[in-house]
């Protein structure tokens, strides 16, 4: 919170007392929280080096990194990574776009709610990864299978959060906007969209998680490229280091997308910081 927001109501206690050392206390805690993961990796390395862990079961983390460096340098990794990212991106766009449209229709219109929501609620009960056999029959084992799986995984979180985000908007704010002379389109733009945005972000984050999960499964079905293919191929040649590397890349992809989204979210939803400050 900025200083000016306190200016008209100076609290004598906080105004004279020195600033609380709240920030400096945080890094120490952060380092402490880092200790156990680092220790675990060190133990893993040590166990692998001393031969306690057989290299074909679990290679040392340093070996995994070395393999990663080798594959990155000869360009193999980039090819597979780009293919995986493309599948995730296209799937998210298709599934997310459809979810956004249907969620908006169901959230805004009573007729849309009656027509769209019941089948979606029923379909939600199906574990979408269990649809793989049926999807293979429908769309084959090519690219469309992977994209369909990602789209299905991304659809539900975005649909439900769009729907809930619109439904949870305070009706009194919509009324106030009406008394200010805002028409339907302007109310959508100034009240409904910004009001539903926090829920939309939550949906997107869940959808990205689901997209990676779907990709892991989808890329193990007859893929010729992609991180999943890299792992399946490595398994056949007992290259455990590549399998572990694939897992690491999936984890990093999930982490990176989540972080990126958090940054966008924080920039877009500045007003909520003010909300928390009081």
């Amino acid at each position: 919170m900025s200083r000016t927001t306190l200016a008209d109501a100076p609290d004598p206690v906080t105004a004279t007392a020195p600033a609380r050392p709240r920030r400096p206390a945080r890094p120490a805690r952060r380092w402490r929280r880092l200790a156990s993961p680092v220790l675990l990796v060190l133990c893993w390395e040590l166990a692998a080096r001393t031969g306690l862990l057989a290299p074909e079961k679990l290679p040392a983390p340093s070996d995994v990194l070395a393999t990663g460096w080798r594959l990155a340098r000869d360009g193999t990794l980039a090819v597979h990574l780009v293919d995986s990212l493309t599948r995730a991106g296209v799937g998210l766009l298709v599934g997310g776009g459809l979810a956004l449209f249907l969620g908006t229709v169901a959230g805004l219109l009573r007729l849309g709610d009656d027509l769209v929501d019941p089948p979606v609620q029923m379909a939600r009960m199906l574990p979408h990864l269990g649809l793989v056999p049926l999807l293979i029959i429908w769309v084959g084992i090519g690219e469309s299978l992977k994209i369909s799986l990602v789209a299905l995984g991304a659809f539900f979180p975005i649909y439900f959060n769009t729907y809930a985000g619109i439904r949870d908007i305070d009706e009194r704010l919509v009324e106030a906007a009406r008394t200010c002379g805002l028409g339907q389109a302007a109310r959508l733009r100034h009240v409904v969209l910004p009001g539903a945005l926090p829920a939309l972000f939550l949906g997107l984050r869940l959808a990205i998680g689901a997209a990676w999960l779907s990709l892991v499964v989808g890329e193990q079905v007859n893929a010729q490229t992609g991180i999943g293919f890299l792992m399946m191929e490595a398994r056949e040649f007992s290259q455990t280091d590549v399998v572990v590397l694939g897992l690491l890349i999936y984890a990093l992809l999930g982490l990176a997308s989540d972080l990126a989204l958090r940054v966008v979210e924080r920039r877009t939803l500045t007003w909520r910081r003010g909300l928390r400050a009081t």
């Binding site: 009194r172 906007a177 009406r178 008394t179 200010c180 002379g181 910004p194 945005l197 003010g274 909300l275």
Partner: protein, 243 residues
């Protein structure tokens, strides 16, 4: 649905006319034929106990209730101030005030309105950073910036603490003297009605049960004996014993 018609534009024609307004929620009749007119510049207080339908009537007059029957007509621009400030949390103070406005002088109008409620320095603040009284003043500025001929106030100070409420009542009196808008003030506070209104209407059993002109002059205070007499009479009608 209550049909809303635009009246003629002569200076003395009422800014608000309502005829035979009727509203029921299921079997419960809340408004059983209310007639009401407000002249330009006149402040009318609508008093009633809780559940008497006074807020329902205001919502109908504001055009927010599609299921009422009867006729209402509002002439000229009207604005509403609710009990809660109802500011959009994702818009800064200035954007909230200027909601729905367009035109080259919008910024100046917003500044003027915020200055009038004493919050010119808070135009960049988020609503969540304001105190209850400040947020309600922004809500008043949002109504004022529309240069209304009629202000509809739904217990506008009901959620504020007693001191802030007194200050807001003073602010409203000052603004009214400057701008000369008419107002319908829905309240359950007898003192507030007596301080601010030219005329008091008592809503009871779904109809206007009593109409009471308030001839206390401009410098009215609760210490005035005439104020006390009216106060006792109104409390008596509202079923509050005063001994």
């Amino acid at each position: 649905m209550a049909s809303r018609t635009a009246g003629d534009l002569t200076g003395t024609a009422p800014v608000l006319t309502a005829r035979a307004v009727h509203r029921a929620f299921g079997p419960t009749v809340v408004l059983a034929g209310v007639d009401l007119t407000i002249s330009p510049g006149e402040v009318v207080a609508l008093l009633g106990g809780s559940g008497s339908g006074k807020s329902t009537l205001l919502r109908i007059l504001a055009g927010l209730d599609g299921e009422a029957t009867g006729e209402t007509a509002v002439r000229g621009p009207a604005a509403v101030v609710f009990q809660e400030h109802r500011l959009l949390p994702w818009k800064r103070v200035a954007e909230n005030v200027g909601l729905g406005l367009s035109g080259a002088d919008t910024d100046q109008r917003i500044d003027r309105a915020l200055t009038e409620v004493g919050l010119a320095d808070r135009r960049r603040a988020w609503p969540a950073e304001l105190s209850g009284g400040q947020a309600q003043r922004v809500a008043v500025a949002r109504a004022l910036v529309r240069e209304p001929d009629l202000l509809l106030l739904d217990e506008p100070f009901g959620a504020l603490d007693a001191l802030t409420r007194l200050r807001m009542q003073g602010l409203l009196r000052r603004l009214r003297a400057e701008h000369g808008f008419a107002a319908l003030l829905v309240t359950h506070d007898v003192d507030e009605a007596l301080l601010l209104a030219d005329r008091i209407l008592l809503l009871d059993a779904g109809v206007i049960a009593e109409e009471l002109p308030v001839d206390l002059g401009n410098g009215r205070t609760p210490d005035d004996p005439a104020f006390g007499t009216l106060r006792r009479h109104l409390l008596d009608r509202l079923g509050v014993p005063t001994t």
